[in-house]
């Protein structure tokens, strides 16, 4: 059974992995330098796209962490996570854009709503399955389709948008960065810190890690596995919802917006290694930056294809991902 | 006595961990050999290496004179090498009968008869014969997952026997058994050896091992530390040390 790699376990076997990750980063830097020097891309544009890539990666971190947590709990990839992301954006649309509640309040509401939804899903949709993997996979697939098409029904087909929250640009000499996008990074950092404390410094976090490693042993220790799973669902759904809420003021909202981030997040956790938080975070940043820079070059569709190919090739040589256990 | 299975310099590393270190062993055909050692010594890894489930980093494996290093697991039963597993015992959603019928796989010719029709009666009769040997013939239609753990181990043996092994590698065949079942199984194993099959087993049950095995190989931290008859092994100081521990004061003084 895959278990969430604790930070301590990672340290024992990370020697060569940090090296490999480091080498990858150096190669990327080299590629970027070559591109700039050969005039293919202007340095300001490159730096801008890298920074936006980090912001995009931060969003992916929020989704990927939830996916990893749930993977540790259930041993499957929860396919409806993209729809959760979408729901977060729609909550922002209604409460913030249409009904004018302050953004910070709406963020909290998003977390609460989606966390409650997560508890609902665990109790009524996942628990009856008694741990059967195939059934769970199929069920989440169905749930994602249900949420997305209901979304179209309820929210309509036209694209929506929400007004920006943090207007303005920061100027660093030759580049200007939109504050809106940059704001994602500190917010994600705060959430990440909270996540870390919850998972590694609290009793509930310990319980979650225990359940992910060995459900029976955890139950024997008196841990209410169902409750802890519900907590994990609530946490993951909440984070994904916040990711959607953060994105809402920036672009267009529609019921299908979750599909692409979900696919990217799945690629990320595979790249990072199923079940590893550290891997998910690092892979999310890598993918975010890659996507951002490659889109500038070759357009988003081919960037997407390239990413797919890269991950596939990577998997052939290292099927466990960056930090995963085979 | 011909040497049936031999390994030379067999080595397997998992990252920084050396699971099997430069192992040389020889098993003569028709013998009953045991591989023992403390937990984590690498015994199942050795089985995995020999039976093709893992590729060795170094070393070669020879079976019946042929170099089988790097062979895929499904190529070995045809040559007569059958292994069982410690944990995953049987096909849980199959009946006992279906489990045993699967053991026949590499011996079954693929004709329209076998492809498009249910298994023929003579196959089922053969299966019943093997089930009788292990004492499970009354449970032939039972779902494998409903069997008690001792019965599941016996079923495992039946499936292996159905494959007509020349070398039978059993991974902890006695775990989870009552004393009566252990006696029964040991007798079955002796019968099998009596028919000319070589049996190579991993076991923790020392009494059983000392009782029936002719040759014992001891592994610790991936390396062979002793090899010989049961009497020799029982007296071997290093073996005693790894099983009973050492007098720390004397050792570290």
């Amino acid at each position: 059974m895959h278990s969430i790699n604790t930070l301590k376990m990672d340290r024992q076997i990370t020697g060569s992995r940090y090296f490999k990750a480091g080498v990858t980063v150096i190669c990327l830097v080299g590629v970027f330098a070559a591109l700039v020097l050969s005039g293919q891309i202007a340095l300001p544009a490159l730096i801008l796209s890298i920074i936006y890539g980090v912001a995009g990666g931060s969003l992916y971190i929020l989704i990927a962490l939830g996916l990893t947590l749930l993977f540790g709990m259930m041993n499957i990839i929860q396919f409806s996570h993209g729809a959760i992301y979408m729901l977060g954006a729609f909550v922002v649309y209604y409460f913030f854009a249409k009904w004018g509640l302050p953004y910070a309040v709406v963020l909290i509401l998003v977390f609460i709503f989606l966390a409650v939804f997560g508890i609902f899903v665990e109790r009524f949709l996942y628990r009856p399955l008694r741990g059967k993997l195939e059934a769970a996979l199929v069920m989440f697939l169905g749930l994602s389709m249900l949420l997305e098409s209901s979304g179209f029904l309820v929210f309509g087909v036209t694209l929506k948008s929400a007004p920006g929250v943090f207007p303005g640009l920061i100027n660093f000499g030759f580049i200007s960065i939109s504050v809106e996008r940059m704001a994602i990074i500190p917010i994600t950092a705060v959430l990440l810190l909270g996540f870390y404390f919850l998972l590694y410094r609290s009793r509930y976090g310990k319980a979650m890690r225990a359940v992910s490693q060995d459900t029976q042993a955890a139950a024997l220790q008196g841990i209410n596995v169902h409750q802890i799973r519900a907590l994990a669902f609530a946490l993951s759904f909440g984070l994904a919802g916040i990711a959607g809420a953060l994105v809402a003021p920036m672009g267009f909202i529609d019921a299908a917006m979750g599909a692409r981030p979900l696919l990217m997040s799945i690629i990320i956790i595979i790249l990072g290694g199923l079940g590893s938080f550290r891997g998910a975070i690092i892979a999310a940043i890598i993918v975010g930056v890659f996507e951002s820079v490659a889109t500038v070059f070759v357009g988003s569709d081919i960037a997407y294809l390239l990413l797919f190919v890269f991950v596939l090739v990577f998997l052939i040589f290292r099927p466990a991902g960056l930090f995963g256990s085979a | 006595m011909a040497i049936q299975l031999s390994t030379v310099g067999l080595t397997k590393n998992f990252g920084a961990l050396c699971a099997v270190k430069d192992l040389d062993l020889e098993i003569q055909s028709g013998k009953l050999v045991a591989l023992i050692g403390p937990n984590g010594a690498g015994k199942t890894t050795v089985f995995n290496l020999i039976s093709g489930f893992l590729k060795p980093d170094r070393g070669r494996i020879h079976f019946k004179g042929k170099d089988i290093t790097g062979f895929k697991p499904h190529q070995l039963p045809k040559m007569g090498l059958i292994r069982t597993f410690q944990l995953t015992n049987n096909f849980p959603n199959f009946t006992v009968m279906d489990n045993v019928l699967l053991g026949r796989h590499h011996r079954t010719a693929f004709t329209p008869r076998t492809i498009f029709y249910r298994p023929p009666t003579h196959e089922k009769q053969e299966a019943m014969g093997v089930l009788h040997l292990v004492g499970l013939d009354t449970l032939a239609d039972e779902m494998a997952t409903n069997l008690a753990s001792g019965q599941q181990k016996r079923l495992q043996l039946a499936v292996a026997l159905m494959a007509h092994p020349e070398l039978l590698m059993l991974d902890e065949p006695l775990s989870g058994m009552t004393p009566e079942e252990i006696n029964f199984l040991l007798q079955s194993i002796k019968n099998v050896v009596g028919k000319g099959v070589t049996v190579f087993l991993i076991e923790h049950n020392m009494k059983a091992v000392m009782r029936i095995c002719e040759h014992i190989i001891v592994l610790d931290f991936g390396a062979k530390i002793a090899e010989g008859t049961p009497e020799y092994i029982q007296q071997h100081p290093q073996v005693i040390e790894i099983y009973l521990g050492i007098d720390e004061e004397k050792h570290y003084a």
């Binding site: 949709l125 169905g142 | 895929k72 697991p73 995953t88 298994p119 499936v159 159905m162």
Partner: protein, 319 residues
């Protein structure tokens, strides 16, 4: 096994087949044979996917081979002038051959990775068909599909398509039923339960997975070729991720334990969703609710229903 239970089941089945066979002669309006023909196609798809499922392959790419068979047959007939009946068969072979090439690469992947790569496959093929230009008709679809002639008979009317579809479905069910009964089916089921034990008795896992994948794809391609002539034109959006998932849903709602599962699931879901066809969102909502409801409340699928009702009658309702 000459017991009465088995014979009576067979007799029932035979009666049903005869009734279905004679149906067009007694039903006048063309709607019923038309929808039943669609049911036959979906049954072929669901049953052929079953090969992958019982081998333990969570295959979401099935619609891709349906598409390859459909477009393959049509293109062969249109561009190369191959007789339509032959092109039907060739469509199946094209699908099978492509699945062989694709399978060699992706079948070595573990469970969840295989599932996701299969999603990628079906979407890539859909996109490729969309961008196929004049060959595949691109976004607007492929028309000009000539009339179907099989062994010299022109298949043009509703009834004739019905009978041809009926025959093709019966052939599919018969072949796959016998495969499942025999050694190959047993080996597939063994692989899905424990690859390790199977390998230890001599099963070449990769070979059998490939056989399951290819045979399933062949029948999907066959269904595709028939579909091309039946519908008269092909639009690439009929094949993609959701159609593949629909075929999976036929299997899971119907039940994965028996061959009757996909047959029942395909029949039931096709008939019930018929009024929804074309209203995309409602259709998706219906299918997903049906799926979730069955998975949560009736995990074995619809075919377990008679058994459950029987047991409940015998022992009462659980408290």
């Amino acid at each position: 096994m000459l017991n009465t239970k088995r014979w009576s089941k067979m007799a029932l089945f035979l009666c049903l087949m005869i009734a279905l066979g004679l149906l067009p002669l007694y039903v006048d309006q063309p709607y019923v044979p038309h929808i039943l023909t669609t049911v036959f196609i979906n049954i072929m798809l669901a049953v052929s996917l079953r090969c992958s499922l019982i081998t333990g392959l969570f295959n979401i790419s099935h619609a891709a081979f349906f598409a390859l068979g459909a477009y393959g047959s049509a293109i062969l007939a249109i561009q190369f002038g191959i007789p339509s009946g032959v092109s039907l068969l060739l469509g199946g072979l094209i699908a099978a051959f492509s699945s062989l090439l694709i399978g060699v690469v992706i079948l070595r992947l573990r469970g969840i990775y295989f599932a996701m790569v299969s999603i990628a496959i079906v979407e890539v093929i859909r996109v490729a068909l969309n961008k196929g230009g004049a060959l595949t008709g691109g976004y607007s679809g492929l028309g000009n599909i000539p009339a179907l002639t099989v062994f010299g008979n022109n298949i043009t009317g509703r009834d004739e398509f019905y009978w041809l579809g009926f025959v093709l479905m019966l052939i599919t069910i018969f072949v796959l039923y016998r495969l499942e009964i025999g050694r190959i089916g047993m080996t597939w089921k063994a692989i899905s339960q424990s690859e390790n034990i199977a390998a230890s008795v001599g099963v070449n896992i990769m070979l059998y997975k490939t056989i399951a994948f290819v045979i399933g794809s062949f029948f999907a391609g066959l269904a595709g070729g028939f579909f091309a002539y039946f519908q008269g034109f092909l639009g690439p959006d009929t094949f993609g991720f959701f159609p593949s998932v629909k075929i999976l849903i036929y299997n899971y709602v119907g039940g994965t334990a028996l061959l009757a599962g996909p047959i029942g699931g395909a029949t039931l879901l096709t008939l019930i969703s018929e009024p929804l066809r074309g209203f995309t969102y409602y259709e998706v909502i219906f299918f997903s609710i049906a799926l979730i409801a069955v998975i949560v409340f009736l995990p074995g699928g619809i075919i377990t229903l008679p058994q459950k009702l029987r047991l409940r009658k015998k022992y009462g309702y659980p408290t």
